[in-house]
């Protein structure tokens, strides 16, 4: 069924379709419409589940972890400050190997205050052991919620999908709402192996020795690695069932490109427009969309960028003193490449500043005219 709705509502629909019985959340702009929509459905009975209105995001995540360990599918949504507040619990969720799914609306982090799109909030949590997806539009956000449950519930690691503030969360577009039967077919009920058992009560995650801790972390790393393959497989299954697939990376006009831009999130859709325009002008420019960020799809990227000598990564984030995060990770993935590509780091869209096709064209032109290595991030700011 096709409907016109915001990215936030698309996410809410996906949660309902996945028959999630326990949602624990705290409202924060620009995530609030997700929270409100689910609340509305809970009150009307349309959502057959419980919404826990916790006193903070930290408590929300704590509640999700505990609820998940009872063997039920859980969900939460947050943004920026809220995500930062639950940082400790993000580590805990991964450590408890709970398949919690979270939608994060990428919003800039204070200080100073603001509400607009910036990817630093979710990227700051890249070390917490969560699977991370970056969604280009509302449809993809909806679909990624469904896929995330299937992946997380096989890998036993929590998954978060990010959608940018306002550009995706509040923009309305035509969205294809899957049928309930389709989702039921695609997503089997959760069967958590390590759940609370009142017949055999135990103390979950007690103090362990150093060696044991290392063992559990090693096991988790193995699971996280397998998520690359599992995410690819799930996406293929999804395509089979719903007619739409995304891959974990998506090359666009890369085959014969001399310069490839790498983007994530909504900038990707603008970049598609810019790349087409540049191609019309005769430039051999391509685009690589980065969808899965954790686990970082090293092999897929190495394969997609084989032979490419010039890469321009666009980061809507800045790790002060470290540069754009997508660029950092990509440089590390390609460090052994025999192509020795020049990888340039472009910082655009910080704080929700608009990244127009012109901005992207500017970036492309700048990259195409560089021939020497340049380590520093290049800030793109209108004069």
């Amino acid at each position: 069924m096709r409907e016109f709705m915001t990215g936030n509502h698309a996410v809410a629909h996906a949660v309902k379709l996945c028959r999630t019985p326990l949602i624990a959340a705290y409202p924060i702009t620009p995530q609030t419409p997700i929270y409100e929509k689910l609340s509305e459905w809970e009150a009307s009975g349309e959502l057959k589940g419980i919404m826990m209105r916790t006193e903070s995001e930290h408590s929300a995540m704590a509640s999700c972890i505990a609820a998940s360990l009872t063997g039920v599918r859980t969900f939460t949504a947050t943004s920026s400050q809220g995500l930062a507040l639950m940082h400790e619990m993000l580590h805990f969720a991964a450590g408890c190997r709970t398949p919690v799914v979270m939608a994060n609306v990428n919003r800039l982090l204070a200080a100073p205050w603001g509400f607009w799109a910036d990817q630093l909030d979710s990227l700051s949590q890249r070390d917490t052991g969560w699977i991370q997806f970056y969604c280009e539009n509302g449809q993809e956000a909806l679909d990624t919620v469904i896929q995330s449950y299937k992946i997380a519930e096989q890998v036993y690691l929590p998954a978060m999908l990010s959608l940018e503030a306002f550009f995706v969360s509040h923009f309305m577009e035509v969205v294809d709402l899957p049928e309930q039967e389709q989702v039921d077919r695609f997503l089997p009920p959760l069967d958590l192996l390590h759940k609370f058992d009142i017949d055999k009560p135990g103390f979950f995650v007690p103090v362990v020795s150093s060696e044991l801790y290392r063992k559990y972390k090693h096991m988790a790393q193995g699971s996280m690695d397998s998520a690359k393959e599992i995410a690819t497989r799930v996406d293929q299954e999804f395509k089979k069932e719903f007619g739409r697939g995304y891959g974990i990376v998506e090359p666009f006009m890369v085959d014969d490109a001399e310069t490839v831009m790498v983007t994530a999130g909504s900038i990707t859709s603008t970049a598609r427009v810019a790349v087409r325009a540049l191609r019309e002008e005769g430039h051999r420019i391509g685009l690589l969309k980065l969808r899965l960020f954790r686990p970082f799809p090293v092999e897929a990227l190495q394969q997609a960028l084989r032979g490419k000598k010039k890469i321009a990564v666009i980061d809507r984030n800045i790790s002060l003193g470290g540069g754009g995060i997508f660029c950092q990770e990509l440089r590390a993935a390609l460090v052994h490449s025999s192509d020795h590509p020049l990888i340039y780091s472009y910082i655009a869209g910080i704080g929700g500043t608009d990244v127009t096709p012109e901005v992207i064209q500017k970036i492309a032109m700048d990259a195409m005219n560089r021939f020497e290595p340049f380590d520093q991030p290049i800030w793109v700011m209108e004069d």
Partner: protein
């Protein structure tokens, strides 16, 4: 913990099926909770040193028999004191600083009745050095001394001048305050112990003082039975009665007929008892006192009840002459007085207003201006200022109204107890001062018999406990409430006979009253420490009155000490 290395295995996270008790978190703390029992202010104020928090706790638990036993350890007359005591305990009750004091007085009375067995299992201890002690006077002091000496295993003989024991309790207090049936039952309790009494024996007549000295120890408690005269003209007229004699007749159920109006001279308890008895005999009464209401030495309750029953009061007048009128009525001439300065006892002094007089007519006049001791049979060296004053190194002891102390029943009981302990110590050749400093209950003169016997059995006495102040009570855990007052007999009905006026508590009223007690300084198993302990290391057993703290797991957070409403838990730093 079962671990498998394969990441797709069943156990991806550690799950412990053991107990976290193996982690001795107690080692992390630098302080531990200690139970610190303290003495409540009411206990200190009670001349008998009754463990009031304990008896109220037991009453609240629906255990009146045990509550009674608690009182009997320190006071053999709860049924009497619960009726006639001036209850200094209530004046010092910590709860009074919060809202209103606990109804301790009425609770003592309630317990003495609610107990199913008023002759509980009080046995004399076995005393290999049992000695013979003579007691003169079977009033509250003498009977108490006998009681405590008998419990200590000594052989007691009481010599009582009158036909029946009881002293002022029997002959002085009218039945509307203390029914004879109650008195009889309370005294029966004394003689349940092996105590010998010889009534109708007056020392100095049937028995010489020297014969008393043949006993190993002697306790003199003859009371103050002689009425002080007015020493004014006309005092010997037949329509003028002495208050003490009048009350004795009332208490013997003798017929006493009074005219329409009576004047009572005096402001003490005797005056109030006389006035209220007069009302019951159908006569109007005016109480004449030389100072004002604020200086009247009578118990406040008694003054209020006399007023409520219709006694009229005339203040600042003193009789100077009584004359007989032709119609056989009395004309009493009073000197008007005013207050000026202080007398020897620091009370306002009444001095005459020159030239100002008042004459009142009446049918009868009853004097109640004081009682003195009959010292005719007492050796001179034991007398000082009209009272008995014994040499502390002889084997003769004294107490009650005959010595220099406040004249109340409970003070008499206290002196009997102190004398019993003193006698026991003296007979064993032990130091009185040292022991008394250990068994004291607070600093107002009360001592604990229970502590005395405990120390006597163990061969040494422990240090006395400190007194708990209102500031140390955590009032957060108490809701404000009003104290319960006893129901009283309807006034009109009350004045037509000598039936008891106060009607005591019902069991519901008693429960409410007992539950208002803060239980200052005594654990009453409120379970606050247990509920708030974050580690769950506190175990309470009210049945066996024990509290244990699992020190292996107590981290010394101090929460239990903070939440104890009654300052029973204190944190002590570990060395």
């Amino acid at each position: 913990m079962e671990i498998k290395c394969d990441f797709s295995s069943e156990f991806v996270i550690p799950i412990s099926y053991g107990s976290t008790e193996v982690i001795e978190t107690g080692k992390w703390g630098f302080q531990k909770p200690e139970t610190a029992f303290m003495t409540a202010r009411c206990q200190e104020a009670c001349p008998a040193g009754i463990n009031i928090p304990q008896f109220l706790y037991l009453a609240n638990e629906g255990k009146p028999d045990e509550a009674l036993l608690t009182i009997l350890k320190e006071n053999p007359f709860p049924g009497i004191c619960g009726r006639v005591c001036f209850h200094p305990c209530e004046a010092d009750c910590n709860r009074a600083d919060y809202d209103e004091s606990v109804s301790i007085h009425a609770m003592e009375r309630y317990v003495s009745h609610a107990a199913s067995n008023h002759l509980p299992d009080l046995k004399p201890m076995w005393n290999k050095d049992s000695k013979k002690v003579a007691i003169v006077g079977a009033g509250p002091a003498g009977l108490s001394c006998a009681y405590f000496l008998a419990l200590t295993g000594h052989q007691v003989t009481i010599f009582e001048a009158k036909k029946e024991p009881g002293g002022v309790m029997r002959w002085g207090i009218p039945e509307y305050r203390l029914p004879k049936s109650v008195l009889k039952r309370e005294i029966q309790r004394i003689f349940h112990l092996p105590i010998e009494i010889k009534t109708g024996i007056q020392v100095g007549k049937a028995l010489s003082f020297d014969e008393l000295k043949r006993y190993d120890a002697v306790f003199l408690s003859p009371g103050a039975g002689l009425s002080v005269p007015l020493s004014i003209e006309g005092e010997d007229l037949k329509w003028i009665l002495r208050g003490g004699d009048f009350l004795e007749r009332i208490n013997s159920r003798d017929k006493a007929i009074l005219g329409k109006e009576t004047i009572v001279i005096g402001g003490g308890n005797t005056a109030m008892d006389v006035a209220r008895s007069v009302l019951r005999l159908g006569s109007k009464v005016t109480v004449a006192y030389r100072r004002t209401r604020g200086e009247m030495p009578a118990i406040q309750d008694e003054i209020v009840e006399a007023e409520e029953e219709g006694a009229r009061f005339e203040f600042l007048i003193q009789p100077i002459k009584i004359g007989l009128l032709k119609n056989k009525r009395l004309a009493v001439k009073f000197q008007r007085m005013k207050l000026s300065g202080l007398d020897q006892s620091n009370r306002p002094k009444a001095i005459p207003i020159k030239g100002k007089f008042l004459t009142l007519e009446t049918d009868h006049l009853i004097t109640a201006v004081g009682e003195r001791v009959d010292l005719s049979w007492i050796p001179q060296d034991l007398i000082k200022n009209g009272l008995i004053d014994v040499n502390p190194f002889h084997k003769i002891f004294s107490g009650g109204d005959a010595v220099d102390q406040p004249r109340t029943i409970v003070t008499a009981i206290s002196s009997g107890k102190r004398a019993a302990i003193s006698i026991d110590l003296r007979l064993r050749g032990e130091s009185l001062d040292k022991v008394f400093s250990k068994i004291k209950v607070g600093n107002k003169g009360s001592v604990s018999m229970e502590d005395y016997i405990l120390g006597r059995n163990e061969g040494e006495w422990s240090e006395p406990k400190s007194i708990i102040s209102y500031q140390q009570i955590n009032t957060l855990y108490f809701e404000h409430s009003k104290r319960m007052e006893m129901r009283k007999l309807d006034r009109n009905k009350a004045l037509r006979s000598f039936s008891e006026v106060n009607m005591g508590f019902t069991s519901d009223e008693a429960k409410i009253s007992a539950s208002r007690c803060f239980s200052c300084g005594t654990c009453n198993y409120c379970y606050n420490c247990y509920f708030f302990c974050p580690e769950g290391v506190i175990l309470l057993d009210p049945l066996h009155q024990t509290k244990t703290v699992d020190l292996e797991h107590c981290k010394g957070c101090g929460t239990c000490a903070k939440v104890c409403p009654r300052y029973v838990v204190l944190m002590k730093e570990l060395s």
